[in-house]
């Protein structure tokens, strides 16, 4: 709180000195091994937490870490330039959350040809073996967890009326993985597991996009309520969208009618679990992704060994945990209180 007040005071003084939208590159620790961390943005708390984890781990292992970030999600050019900088700088390893799963593949191949270990964090490349390894949340699993929870919490899942609040029209992998995971967990036949909206289960009221924020969440929920005011299960791509959906429901007095589930584990989201706005969320661990990534680079620099995928997956699962204050039998979960200690942002 005091921090915020100070920020307010500084606002005027620094207003003009700030230049926006420039990819930042800062060096952290000097050492023999060089590594790069390239995130989608450096403003999203998720990536802030990720950077925190990487910096801490690099400090501990004596690795020199350069960090880069795009201006906005989808800013491919800045990320390409960052990768090229890392190649030129002789990095041993690159940790990257690609803003575009496909567009960055050529420059990543170039990096690997230069003997650099490339690890995708959070978002896999397409194909996923374009990188040496992927450290990510199992987004499908994250969806399955909230889907199973929702089905187990409802008295009669067959009478469900489900609203699906997705990310955006591009249907990126995280979008369809969470969506299809949720439906699978709930017991809906999802048909093509990479296609949102091809289901014909009558319990699904519809899909709409939220852009992952409150405003979009509210609008999408209003839209779907128009199709069917009886919506009683709401899947949301992330917690801000969930908060928006709740507002839409509350504005027409339907907030108690619907169960809202989400994915992420950001601190405001966890707080919303505690207050009953969101029923359950699947928490992911950005800090762990980054610190594991730095460890892998250190290992590679020393022994040349590359990380192995988790069993049965084409990536290394950094874990996902269900957070709810209404636990159901057979699904492991933690309470919002426990989650508040691990949340990011």
């Amino acid at each position: 709180m005091t921090n915020k007040t100070i920020k307010m005071a500084l606002l005027g003084a620094t207003a003009l000195t700030l230049t926006a939208g420039i990819a930042s590159a800062e060096s952290h620790v000097k050492g023999d091994v060089n590594a790069c961390l390239i995130t989608k943005t450096d403003t999203n708390p998720f990536f802030v937490k990720m950077k925190e984890g990487a910096v801490a781990q690099a400090d501990e292992l004596g690795i020199q870490l350069d960090t880069f970030a795009g201006k906005i999600d989808g800013d491919v050019e800045t990320q390409v330039a960052a990768v090229e900088t890392c190649i030129a700088g002789g990095a041993e390893g690159i940790l990257i959350t690609p803003s575009d799963s496909r567009a960055l593949v050529p420059v990543i191949e170039q990096a690997r040809e230069n003997g650099i270990l490339v690890i995708a964090l959070d978002t896999p490349f397409e194909p996923s073996d374009a990188a040496d390894a992927t450290f990510a949340t199992d987004n499908f699993k994250a969806g399955v967890l909230i889907g199973e929870w929702a089905a187990a919490t409802m008295e009669d899942p067959s009478s469900a009326k489900i609203a699906m609040l997705d990310l955006n029209p591009s249907e990126v992998s995280v979008d369809y993985l969470r969506n299809q995971g949720f439906l699978t967990g709930f017991g809906v036949d999802v048909k093509d597991e990479t296609d949102i909206g091809d289901e014909d289960d009558p319990r699904i009221v519809g899909n709409d996009v939220t852009n992952g924020n409150e405003q979009g969440g509210r609008q999408a929920m209003e839209n779907l309520l128009q199709r069917d005011p009886g919506v009683n299960v709401v899947y949301t791509i992330n917690e801000p969208a969930a908060a928006g959906a709740y507002e839409a429901l509350r504005s027409v007095g339907l907030q108690d009618q619907a169960l809202i589930v989400s994915v992420d584990g950001g601190c405001p989201g966890v707080q919303n679990i505690a207050e009953g706005v969101i029923g359950a969320t699947s928490m992911q661990f950005p800090l762990k992704m980054a610190s594991l990534g730095i460890e892998a680079i250190a290992e590679y620099a020393e022994t040349g060994a590359k990380p192995e995928n988790s069993e049965g997956l084409d990536f290394t699962n950094t874990g996902v945990t269900l957070v709810t204050d209404n636990p159901v039998e057979g699904i492991d979960s933690i309470t919002s209180e426990e989650a508040l200690e691990q949340c990011w942002g």
Binding site: K7, M8, L18, G21, P45, E222, S251, V277
Partner: protein, 360 residues
């Protein structure tokens, strides 16, 4: 000197025959050659006609396609609600566009001021009315900053606001830490911030105060633009800045007031947006700048300045809302909604160009 007349002759000699010619030079009449010409002239005299026609037609068509679900009082009031924030931003945008400028920073000012008000009222314990006053002052200040860069530093509005868009957006992310202020926290600390989210039930309709605010903002600005000298000056500047200056308008001062007012309107939108969204999200309305321009353009306000009624922007915003709602209820994918809006923009600008070609 092009004049090589025979020195012996006086100027009017060669013009003598003119006396017999038609001398009705200053007659204020023109010929309507075809129905199309007549339409062109009608639209020229009344630029809001196009968006009104499109709006009525769109409501009619979607009413036929999507039926009662579209035509219900609830749905129509929902459209009003959904366009209210972009609508208010479009009002601010109209002010700038009428001066032949463009403001890419309107949504950034709005989000920044929502974050400022929210941080002050919810986290710093400042009374909500004061937090809002700070936001209004801040919004006006942001607008004046744009205005000073345009008038004093003489930067093109596009570049100026492209820059300040980034600056305001960065400040917003920094202040908020890219974290939303939760709806529940606002309810607990400063419910006044959500005032415009209060809904009135009239018949089947749910009209939020925010929707009414949007209409009120448009009416007030319409009055200022059309019924006061200041408004006429704003149009004159947008029409031809140099001419306005020569005709005796203090153009810089007027422009500055326009930018300041636009900033204030953005701050009003900020307040309304808290009521609309519920929470204060630093990531929301990222495309608000472009959506406001879309509404203005579809509303028949010329991007070249000086032409069009601000009410057009209200109709423009409603047209977008009606299209989105109608297409959605007709089961059309989001992708094709975006596609349709794109064509609407192009059509609107084409019509504007055509109307501008009107001549005596």
């Amino acid at each position: 000197m092009s004049d090589t007349t025979d020195p012996g002759r006086k100027g009017q000699d060669y013009e003598q025959d003119l006396d017999k010619s038609d001398v009705s030079v200053a007659e204020f009449k023109y010929l309507h050659n075809s129905p199309l010409d007549r339409i062109q002239h009608a639209l020229h005299g009344n630029p809001t006609l196009v968006p009104v026609i499109v709006l009525v037609a769109a409501i009619g068509v979607f009413g036929l396609i999507a039926g009662d679900r579209f035509f219900s009082a609830f749905n129509l009031s929902l459209i009003l609600q959904q366009v209210s924030i972009i609508g208010i931003l479009a009002a601010a945008q109209s002010l700038i566009i009428i001066t032949a400028g463009i403001d890419l920073s309107v949504a950034a000012i709005m989000v920044l001021m929502a974050v400022v008000a929210g941080n002050l009222a919810v986290y710093a314990g400042v009374p909500a009315p004061i937090a809002l006053l700070v936001a209004f002052a801040g919004g006006t200040g942001c607008g004046i900053m744009n205005g000073l860069l345009v008038t004093k530093v003489k930067l093109p509005p596009f570049i100026t606001t492209l820059g300040t868009w980034s600056i305001f957006y960065a400040l917003n992310l920094w202040l908020s830490g890219a974290q939303s202020i939760r709806s529940q926290d606002i309810d607990a600390e400063a419910p006044l911030l959500k005032f415009w989210g209060i809904a009135l039930e009239v018949g089947g309709a749910r009209v939020t105060l925010g929707s009414l605010l949007m209409v009120a903002v448009f009416l007030v600005l319409w009055y200022m633009l059309n019924k006061t000298a200041w408004g006429r000056h704003v149009y004159a500047i947008g029409d031809d800045k140099e001419a306005a200056e020569l005709a005796g308008i203090r153009t810089d001062r007027t422009l500055l007031s326009v930018y300041g007012l636009a900033g204030l309107v953005c701050a009003v939108a900020a307040w309304a947006s808290i009521g609309r969204v519920g929470s204060i999200s630093p990531q929301a309305f990222y495309e608000g700048n472009l959506q406001s321009i879309t509404a203005v353009v579809i509303g028949g306000i010329s991007l070249f300045g000086g032409r069009g009624s601000i009410l057009g922007a209200l109709f423009g915003a409603l047209i977008v809302g009606v299209f989105q709602s109608g297409l959605r209820l007709a089961g059309v994918d989001v992708l094709w909604q975006v596609f349709a809006i794109g064509w609407l923009i192009i059509l609107a600008v084409a019509i504007d160009q055509w109307i501008r070609k009107v001549s005596a």
